[in-house]
Symmetry: C2
Subunit: 458 residues, 2 copies
Amino acid sequence: MIENKIPYKTYLDENEIPTAWYNLRADMKVKPAPLLNPATHKPLSADELTPIFCEELVKQELDNDTAFFPIPQEILDFYKMYRPSPLVRAYCLEKVLDTPAKIYYKFEGNNTSGSHKLNSAIAQAYYAKKQGLKGVTTETGAGQWGTALSMACAYLGLDCKVFMVKVSYEQKPFRREVMRTYGASVTPSPSMETAVGRKILAEHPGTTGSLGCAISEAVEVATQNPGYRYVLGSVLNQVLLHQSIIGLETKAAFDKIGVKPDIIIGCAGGGSNLGGLIAPFMGEKLRGEADYRIIAVEPASCPSFTRGKFAYDFCDTGMICPLAKMYTLGSGFIPSPNHAGGLRFHGMSTTLSQLYHDGYMEARSVEQTSVFEAAELFARSEGILPAPESSHAIRAAMDEALRCRETGEEKNILFGLTGTGYFDLVAYQKFNDGQMTDYIPTDADLAVGFAGLPKVED
Amino acid sequence: MIENKIPYKTYLDENEIPTAWYNLRADMKVKPAPLLNPATHKPLSADELTPIFCEELVKQELDNDTAFFPIPQEILDFYKMYRPSPLVRAYCLEKVLDTPAKIYYKFEGNNTSGSHKLNSAIAQAYYAKKQGLKGVTTETGAGQWGTALSMACAYLGLDCKVFMVKVSYEQKPFRREVMRTYGASVTPSPSMETAVGRKILAEHPGTTGSLGCAISEAVEVATQNPGYRYVLGSVLNQVLLHQSIIGLETKAAFDKIGVKPDIIIGCAGGGSNLGGLIAPFMGEKLRGEADYRIIAVEPASCPSFTRGKFAYDFCDTGMICPLAKMYTLGSGFIPSPNHAGGLRFHGMSTTLSQLYHDGYMEARSVEQTSVFEAAELFARSEGILPAPESSHAIRAAMDEALRCRETGEEKNILFGLTGTGYFDLVAYQKFNDGQMTDYIPTDADLAVGFAGLPKVED
């Protein structure tokens, strides 16, 4: 018998689900740099953004001051279908690692999208519906965001058009079927459906696609079709705002069991999960009320935090999107095709970039075979088959727990288990067959992406 | 806003998880008929069963009198990793159906096996481990049971060998990878690895396999390898006993919110989910303490309750397993290859068969296109992509709710949502493409199976 006073899973009651999102930027002394117009290099106004994004979301995007945004009741109703998500004490993993550390994870995978992405998908779809739009367009990499948006749109009766990075489209045919079951249309990107897609295909006929390229296509379709807007699953401030529900629930659950985490670990692609998970904890840190070690974990094959430049860059390959100041590998950077999971965006949330730049958090990169080793051990001990993305955080959490075994420290380690790997079995098969390899870009590889950075006077 | 006093999801606390399984047979006036030795047609003794099954499980299998079996602490610890499962009020489905009925479902899909099968897998693996065995063998159809057993064996450090019905193996390659990730070996059945497999392949070279055939192979391997036993995911009394955790939790959750179901609906293949879900409710019914309408739902393409015979039959195609008295289509019956989901066993739990025979429950069959229509509507309203098996129960629950719309009755309808459809996307794709067809066996088709029934003096 495993002795435990703290339950395996801590659930909040439904009436304890937070009713307002927390805007981390309100507590930042140095605010994230504004988005710039890609032509004029001037800060973008709300008027310039509303042809692309829904009006209410533009307000959220630009608001660096309001700390709390009430969550509309319709969104809370939807949240209740799959939230609160459990805060899990990883008793079995601790035992297998023989560590004195206490490991906790916030598990966001218990919904059909398989990840935390649904938290922002329903919010963005709701505001589109409220604005009277016909539908939304988006891109998806690993497919979780596209699935989440399809679910939200089906629920609200909105049209949904998804551009899916070609390599993922081919590796994950079943993701497409889930999205279709929820009524969405799915196009592999780059495609011949858009001007930007045709241009990229002409220049790089064999390309396996990138998130940056899929974004360009989705934005083009949204801006050229009346009644449509573009929505994005990560990177943006509005997304971090919606995802703060993860951290707020986590903090409330910790308070319930009387625990305070020492180390908080999240995987980082565009920053949606990490930004959401850490939000209230980072808020305390910014206000000087508490201290936490906060660690971002990214793939060694797409290392924007650890090897990128902190500079203004395009968010998309087609260079039609706003410029954002962020840690970036350059909008022309495309991860090696051997890269198996998501976390493949060339840039990073402007908010998280600023916090990292200002020393409020750490970052590290990990190689994918070591990530899948961690995933397998986690699956066999904790029962859940994790998404490759989430497994980056597992890897780092395990490394910290093993360090505690050396030092004897009983640290409380929290990580975000963003999702499940049920649609990543091609990658797992590669790992099971011993065929998985690692890829670390050389400095020369990275120089190609950096060469494409726009010249912006700061 | 949806007005609700009753929460969307009712979770028990961890310390409210039932600590004993309930044995329905204890309250049956007419007990299920005993298993017979296939050679002598005499009731099987414990000694005859222990070469096939673990000792403790044989005791559970044969015990018609003990009402409660305490759940060992090690199993309770494992249960806490994914239980309690939520009892969900389907507010959104009710709204879409515009019904005065209140619909509830017990959702067993929030674990990596994707279904309720884990409840019995961990129990059977635990007793195998306790007996000092090296490993276990089994069969799997849709793949849920095989996955569940792989997870349980990985957790306990047991070897696990799975024979997977060939048509499922081909339709669900990713199931195999999940099982491999948990360290199991997976063989498509019929295979050349066993005498019975070779015989079946010689007689039916193009066969897509059947559960009955996979069972024969798994039993052969278990009985011919020292330190191995065979375990089964459904049909057996011991499995229904372990699965009673579903119904016990459901009843406790209903008591917590002060609701009593009027109609209880479960899909039925071998009976594991149905038997578990209804256990405590049927107990009350048998003891005359309460009344419930209890409905078993099965595929029109594999209609053992609604069109089978109540007779002694082999549990496997190879005719090496015990004879069980049950509703059966004959051990030679193989569902049409167009049958997309699980629920493909030719027979039915002896316990449920007796209860059905004695008028304690109803049964109906549904065709698969109408099942997938129900699944799609459910996914789009309740968010969860259901397993095809579970969707049989959804279909019947929706039909009952629509009937309430006609009559204006506010009935409380409970159904078992046994699992998720994340590995059933080939079937969903067929449905999305409008390529799914129905198949109802003719009387002549069924006569072939019935002709193979053994002659047993009752």
